[in-house]
Symmetry: C2
DNA sequence: ATCTCATGTCGTACACTGTACTACATCGGC
DNA sequence: GCCGATGTAGTACAGTGTACGACATGAGAT
């Protein structure tokens, strides 16, 4: 975090010339609307410009490059991801849980945001700072030294990103088109027949492996439950560290 | 996981015609070498073909599309990420820890692999299956019901992906070029002066905020320690669930 | 009211991308 | 020796990000 510069000098209108027709926020909003409606690949400079009734190259007076535009979009998402002010619990576990759930919901809504598209500087926008501020407020009551607070905050952010990226967004078996299923089943059978996958073989049995897989997945917790469970485990672990640390410092 | 088909019919040579000059593995290796040396954006069909002394369009007889090629590359990474066979501890915590550390190392070495480039099918390659098999072996001793085993495995994978994506790969303040620092500092000052960031203000003080930030980050745990700590917390949490569950089932 | 000129707008052009289409080269089986 | 399936490519096309430069605009100075 805290790298790159989302907002150049442009904040001051620098008087003595024509007024801009757009704001960076408007451009970001237009790009975001396209991304939400048609996917991130539909966001091209020409497309965004057209949506704004502008010439393509006009965008380059508001944005240094396309990845600059991505950084603006990222920061717009960070706004959506903020918890409503004054709604944060004083209990650090509840507060972090609320932040994590909200973040997950936003990232699921905008899948491109969790992939690291803007490799540089997307994380230091004003709304990212606000998110960081909210996280700092959440962990204020832990009594941890500051470095450990930052560690805890980053841990939550990391967990959310990882869960969304791998568990929420990665397509599961249900995404396989029906006509491709037989070929994949044959491939799977062939792999299993090598004998290199004893546990996997035991897991899927010899019968209808699709049915077996569906049964297992259906019997397990829902994604929401899994997210909450992993978060709880992380917080349990952190709480253990905290109480241990408090017990230690109380002895002095 | 388990979607898409990484290896089409090609496995059988389908006799009666010319022999192929390349294998899919060779093509993936060439692409991987380029990605490691010059970044994922340098991997273009023309570039890969040239590296193989082949015409561009020749690749399309081994690969249906570029994202197919990405899927091959992903699976190649999954091979690197495998733990040496028979080196897995019988203790499920040790085994999962070994798998997680190895996965992290591989993903850090190949940053593009952790971003979801191949949106479809990259996760069902033969080496991905092997990784899954290793994870199943690791959790075999937990005594958990199968759905909870899968949950635990996914949780580790998620954590690793998130940590690499956000903590390892996201550039930190040290990545800011020296000439950009003043502008960013001014921007930060301006933001803080709004008074909307009480905790952040307290964190950074009023003096040299760069120095303060560097001091905090320097005083904290290293990335390696942070990774291990988060992993331990997750495993602690899971262990608590397991012993609770065992105690409950012993009562029946 | 006019002039000045920094600023905003944007048409054209270029190098480069993935890949559809097509023609041709190659070689195992008859 | 021939056939025909298969591997190898050249050409072409639509679409990308963006460098360059010409032009339009309108606020401040005269």
């Amino acid at each position: 975090m805290l790298s790159g510069m989302p907002e150049p000098v442009w904040a001051r209108p620098d008087p003595g010339a024509r007024r801009p027709r757009y704001t960076r926020a408007q451009i970001a909003a237009a790009a975001l609307a396209i991304a939400d409606a048609e996917g991130i690949d539909a966001v091209t400079m020409r497309r965004v410009a057209t949506a704004l009734d502008a010439g393509t190259m006009t965008l380059y007076h508001y944005v240094r490059s396309k990845s600059d535009l991505f950084a603006l979009m990222q920061d717009a998402i960070m706004e959506e991801l903020l918890v409503p002010p004054d709604s944060l619990s004083a209990d650090w576990r509840e507060a972090l849980t609320a932040i994590a759930h909200r973040a997950r919901a936003s990232f699921v809504r905008h899948p491109w945001a969790v992939r690291g598209i803007a490799t540089d500087g997307g994380a230091a926008g004003p709304h990212a700072l606000r998110h960081f501020e909210q996280s700092l407020a959440a962990v204020a009551g832990t009594g941890l030294p500051i470095a450990d607070k930052l560690d805890l905050i980053a841990m939550i952010d990391d967990y959310v990103a990882g869960f969304v990226l791998k568990s929420d967004l990665e397509p599961g078996p249900e995404a396989i088109p029906a006509e491709a299923a037989p070929a994949i089943a044959a491939y799977l059978d062939e792999q299993l027949r090598t004998g290199d996958y004893p546990h996997l073989t035991e897991l899927l049995g010899d019968g209808d492996r699709w049915a077996a897989l569906a049964g297992i997945l259906g019997s397990g917790p829902t994604p929401d439950e899994r997210f909450a469970r992993g978060l709880r485990r992380l917080l349990d672990g952190a709480a253990g560290d905290i109480s241990r640390l408090n017990a230690q410092s109380a002895r002095h």
